[in-house]
Symmetry: C2
């Protein structure tokens, strides 16, 4: 099958590309390289089933040309920094919602009938049910979450108007190879500059769930291969939950640091709109035979090792 992966040179997108190529599909990666890295997909560059398009989703004519013959769009491109929406109120609207509508328009014009979308646990906001089930209403507390929620509604509508199949996945934080932002990167950078004292904005108590990207990608394809429904909405998250304090300890340990003094700056949440307790119900997913293979601790430590070996440079 010919597939397009928007954001296919990014963290999660490139893992989806690996899987699609391994399964024998033709893959068009559509990426503007704002955060994607050629490094993540360079092993496919000489594959005849692989095509790389360096373009923005704003360039609708390019997108339209590249959509010819595509049967399935994996829409991973988007603005992934949840924090910045508090300062810039339009970046999520433009990069998440408007670009998703561009994708849907071009799919409709080319009669493409399948879309997978990377949504987020942030659509639930500060949910008062944990683990949070898929039918919990949208109560986002960030424009990132609000635009992911809006994308879901637009996708459902186009799918309903034009008999498309939609696969919406609400992710917890993913960790693992090629993860180049978030807490693991931040802590390792700080430790590189000061291996004795570590300043941390939280008080260590917020509880989060995370999942290794390989377990996440396995979940996505389990659903796509097993579901017969037109509209699909699945949480993808771990059974486990942990505190930020534990996460920091695991990063320190994996980094080979010792006797680091952690200075928690005391504010419970380090930015407006953060959700301090994230745990998603994953029973729908488990009913399909999926389960995570790595613990959160294993996922965090392998991420730290990956970043130290591949990403952190002498300048960081």
């Amino acid at each position: 099958m010919k597939c397009m992966v928007t954001g296919g040179a990014g963290f999660i997108g490139s893992h989806i590309v690996d899987r699609l190529i391994a399964d024998g599909n033709k893959v068009v990666v559509y990426d503007n390289f704002s955060t994607g890295r050629e490094f993540f997909i360079k092993h496919h560059l000489n594959d005849k089933n692989f095509r790389l398009v360096n373009a923005d989703l704003k360039e609708v004519e390019v997108l339209n040309k590249e959509m010819k013959g595509v049967e399935f769009v994996y829409h991973l491109a988007g603005h992934a920094d949840v924090r910045s929406g508090f300062r810039d109120h339009f970046i999520d609207h433009e990069q998440n919602l408007e670009m998703t509508q561009n994708v849907l328009e071009v799919m409709y014009k080319n009669d493409v009938k399948n879309i997978m979308f990377a949504s987020s646990s942030s659509v639930y906001g500060d949910a008062n049910i944990h683990p949070t089930p898929e039918d919990y209403p949208f109560e986002p507390t960030s424009l990132y979450g609000a635009t992911k929620a809006a994308c879901e509604s637009y996708i459902r509508t186009y799918a309903s108007y034009y008999d498309m199949r939609s696969f919406i996945f609400r992710f917890v934080s993913f960790t693992g190879a090629r993860y180049t932002h978030g807490i693991v990167m931040d802590v390792l950078k700080k430790l590189k500059n000061n291996s004795k004292e570590l300043e941390l904005f939280s008080d260590g108590t917020p509880r989060k769930s995370s999942l290794d990207v390989k377990d996440g990608v396995e979940a996505i394809f389990k659903v796509i291969n097993k579901s017969n429904d037109q509209f699909n909405v699945f949480n993808i998250g771990h059974d486990e939950i942990t505190t930020i304090d534990h996460v920091v300890d695991w990063i320190i340990e994996a980094g080979g640091y010792k006797n680091v003094q952690k200075n928690w700056l005391g504010k419970k949440s380090n930015w407006k709109g953060d959700n301090e307790f994230v745990l998603l119900q994953n029973t729908k997913l488990k009913a399909l035979g999926w389960k995570p293979t790595l613990t959160i601790e294993e996922g965090i430590k392998s991420t730290a090792k990956y970043i130290m070996e591949n990403i952190l440079t002498a300048n960081d």
Copy 2:
């Protein structure tokens, strides 16, 4: 209190204006008169507590100037024709979502802390629970519904970022004085041209709930006056439900027509994205002491009479 009513010269907006003025508030009506009518608000034009601004929500500088001193925004302006989104995929996005974000931005810049928003039963799409409760997830089947859902998420986020109070109301169809579109208007126009035969696109079976606008406005103010919550989401709908076939019969009767032959064209839904069974749970609202005072039949008949006496012209 100084209030702004966007879309205040429209059907529901003008009833909110009547109530706010009656309660002794200062009111700024902000309306571009795309569908609003001066006729609906002309009785306030000489009132010192009333100010009319003929402008579009795109004109952010005008909006910003008029927002000075406002404490409560009633945001009614929007694209109200649910059907047209199937042909024009951007009209709801621009007129509902982008204009709502303009309102939120200007509120934030002027430190306005209260917003009421007119959402819709269409956020639920073809719900499989009836009456549909407020915590039913968003499953819109029209871009109208998708953008109303998106507006709700954006409003919740701004309210969360900036400690605003939000009052979101999901309306069924409202009927009553000043209702100038929808089935009552359509049927009366057709009967004016042909009083013997009436062509109807549905098969008569879709079931809908509607509510008289005066009962709806009473519900809105019951919530605003009684709630102490920061985030408020309420369905506003009747306990009753009826078929389109009955509605047509009531319009015929109220219009004074007799022996009209109804020709149902057989398609169950007359446009893509319609929801054929709409009944909202209203127990949250009733717990505040509200109940409808008019039956659906009384509401439809009074609407038909209003349209014949005030709206239909010799040219219709």
